[in-house]
């Protein structure tokens, strides 16, 4: 191979040695150049790690009360042997809650719930929302007016208030919270999808496909959807942060996950009157919530900058 190259000195050297970069590799490179996005990714990686390995990392059963099992009081502060807590006392990294359960283990398991709530409700909203937005833009006319009118009306409610109203109808519980937050988030994705499809529909390459008789279903899936994906990904990441906040707020109000489910919002809600005597019961789940939401917000902002077409050109 090398000898043949050597014997052919007239071969033209390529001007560019690098392969052209695609949208995704460019975006990924830009993402890794942003400090805040990296911080966000590290937080989320840690969170996923905790969620996956919660059974290994946890020291206690998150839903089991330790009354009669260990010599420990309810709402006891953190006790870590390495930091000077007497070794004759049972070790609890974040202390115990009002039902004498290990707070550290509950927070670890809570990561599973928060991630699940965020991803499932936003996934649901993206699926339904982008379907509604796509047919709205594709069919147009009355269908468009009716669907988008409905979306406008839903947007007229502050999201948490509408979610509260929906959960009161469906009844409290984690699944209904997921559903309520999913429903409330639909309009945002429907609007994004509709405007993407409307603008891409007019592009020359779509016109070209249409003129050579490509079926419209295939145009939708192979031309339009991939191009509409960018804004959906950005909004979806930021939307997960909002969904987690709203779900925690609903649980805090007693409408979401019910005890003894280890959900951060409901953990804070249950102990809110104890903030003056046992602040650790608010601080630790609070920090967990803040970090999770911060992680998705930072990653979402980073993705928006990395995928921004205007900046790239």
């Amino acid at each position: 191979m090398s000898t043949s190259a050597a014997t052919a000195p007239t071969a033209v050297e390529p001007i560019f040695n690098t392969k052209p970069r695609g949208l995704w590799s460019t975006a990924l490179r830009r993402l890794f150049h942003r400090r805040s996005a990296i911080v966000g990714m590290i937080i989320l990686a840690a969170l996923i790690f905790v969620a996956v390995f919660a059974p290994v990392l946890a020291t206690h059963d998150p839903t089991k009360s330790l009354i009669g099992v260990e010599n420990v009081q309810k709402r006891q502060g953190p006790c870590i042997h390495l930091l000077g807590c007497p070794t004759d006392q049972p070790q609890h990294f974040f202390g115990t809650d009002g039902n004498v359960r290990d707070l550290y283990s509950r927070i670890l398991y809570g990561a599973r719930l928060s991630l699940m709530v965020g991803i499932v409700s936003v996934g649901f909203a993206i699926l339904i929302g982008s379907f509604l937005g796509a047919i709205s833009a594709y069919i147009g006319g009355w269908t468009d007016s009716i669907i988008m009118g409905l979306m406008d009306i839903m947007l007229a409610f502050p999201s948490l208030i509408l979610a509260i109203a929906i959960v009161t109808v469906l009844g409290p519980g984690l699944i209904n919270t997921l559903l309520a937050i999913g429903i409330v988030s639909i309009p945002v994705y429907a609007r994004i999808m509709r405007s993407s499809v409307l603008s891409i529909k007019q592009q020359d390459y779509v016109m070209a496909d249409r003129s050579i008789g490509v079926p419209s279903g295939r145009i939708l899936f192979s031309n339009i959807l991939p191009n509409a994906l960018t804004p959906l990904i950005v909004q979806g990441t930021l939307g997960i942060a909002v969904a987690i906040l709203d779900a925690a707020a609903l649980s805090f109000l007693g409408l979401g996950a019910q005890p003894p489910t280890p959900e951060w919002g409901s953990m804070i809600g249950q102990e809110r009157n104890q903030v003056f005597t046992a602040p650790h019961l608010i601080v630790f789940p609070g920090i967990a919530l803040i970090l999770t939401v911060l992680g998705f917000n930072l990653l979402g902002d980073g993705l928006r900058d990395a995928l921004d077409v205007r900046q790239r050109s």
């Binding site: 109203a165 003056f276 602040p279 939401v293 917000n297």
Partner: protein
């Protein structure tokens, strides 16, 4: 201009009707028999038939929606099952508390958000900018209820017996007296809508204190409001700061900014007269949109700080499944949100000719 306003108002009407329709549907979907929910489990069939007739519940849904519309238009939002009082009456008592809290929070959020945004944009990439943006990122990520509980702990327990101690709940210290404004002004016999308005304002203790020169009331009410306002304004403040920064940065890179500097204008003139005027337009929209968050946040903030406003009442209604109150308050909150956003749109058009002429 008038044509633009008329068009915007006309566009808001279907949305308002839609809100009514959704609250009506949600009302109908509530599980259980409305008669027995209202009158108790032991209500007989005859009593329930009479109840259904009286509220038009024996009619087809379309007619029921008509009745519902008629009731809402005349200000009848139904009754609270728990208190046996009209929802409208409860709203009139509790709305002033929430309006005072929300407006003060919006004011604080706008003033400090814009200042922080301008500072961050002007010294872009400096430590001040980095610090401000870290603050803004944390601000949008902290749940309102966590911030509320932790600040209550900080100011009421940790800083107790220092000059920075603040009351963690309630609206007034015991012993501080509130007089209706009309009485303080020596018009106790005043009646009609003027009295209604004055009584409504009397419930906003800060304004009451100002209008009646009652400094003790004003200072005490303001002290009680510091923590709730701080908590409620954090999210909108962060959003406004980020918006101001990015909008100002975009404007500062435009050609006419270079022109302004080239013709020798001093820096404050360039920033405040040339850049800010254009950069603040998107900020106006964000301020309007923040109201939705403020109304949602009020449910949490008022619950934590024990303020008997719309939000706290909503929370109590949720806890006791008082559907009438939940529906009525949801409706009013959504209506307020739509009307405020309408006003924002109109003010936007006044500020930016491109909108009303485009």
């Amino acid at each position: 201009m008038i044509r633009y306003i008329a068009r915007r108002v006309a566009l808001a009407i279907p949305v308002l009707l839609g809100i009514l329709f959704i609250t009506f549907i949600l009302n109908r979907l509530i599980p259980g028999d409305p008669c027995r929910a209202m009158l108790g489990e032991k209500a007989t069939d005859e009593v329930c038939d009479a109840f259904f007739k009286r509220y038009g519940l024996d009619q087809p849904p379309v007619i029921q929606f008509g009745y519902y519309l008629g009731r809402v238009v005349t200000g009848d939002l139904g009754d609270s099952m728990r208190f046996g009082r009209p929802v409208t009456q409860m709203l009139m008592e509790r709305l002033p508390v929430t309006i005072e809290l929300a407006l003060l929070s919006l004011l604080v959020a706008t003033i400090f958000g814009v200042i922080l945004g301008v500072i961050a944009a002007y010294w872009q990439n400096s430590p001040v900018d980095v610090f401000t943006m870290i603050f803004a990122n944390l601000g949008v990520s902290i749940p309102v209820f966590v911030l509320g509980l932790l600040s209550a702990y900080l100011f009421a327990v940790v800083l107790k017996d220092t000059p920075f101690a603040l009351p963690p709940s309630g609206r007034l210290t015991a012993g501080v007296r509130v007089q209706p404004i009309a009485v303080a002004w020596g018009m106790p016999d005043l009646g009609g809508p003027a009295r209604g308005l004055l009584d409504f304002l009397s419930q906003m203790y800060v304004i009451n204190g100002l209008l009646t020169w009652n400094w003790r009331l004003f200072a005490d009410a303001a002290r009680h409001l510091i923590l709730p306002v701080l908590v409620l304004s954090t999210i909108p403040m962060s959003v406004i700061a980020r918006m101001t920064r990015s909008s100002l940065l975009e404007v500062m890179s435009l050609d006419y900014m270079r022109t302004a500097r080239a013709k020798g204008l001093n820096e404050s003139n360039v920033v405040f007269r040339h850049a800010m005027r254009n950069a603040l337009l998107p900020v106006v929209t964000v301020v309007g949109l923040s109201l939705g968050g403020l109304l949602s946040g009020a449910v949490l903030t008022e619950t934590i700080f024990g303020l008997t406003g719309v939000g706290r009442t909503m929370f109590d209604a949720i806890s006791s499944r008082d559907y009438g109150v939940i529906q009525g308050f949801t409706l009013v909150i959504a209506f307020t949100y739509v009307v405020v956003n309408l006003l924002v749109d109109i003010s936007y058009a006044i500020l930016d000719p491109r909108i009303r002429l485009g």
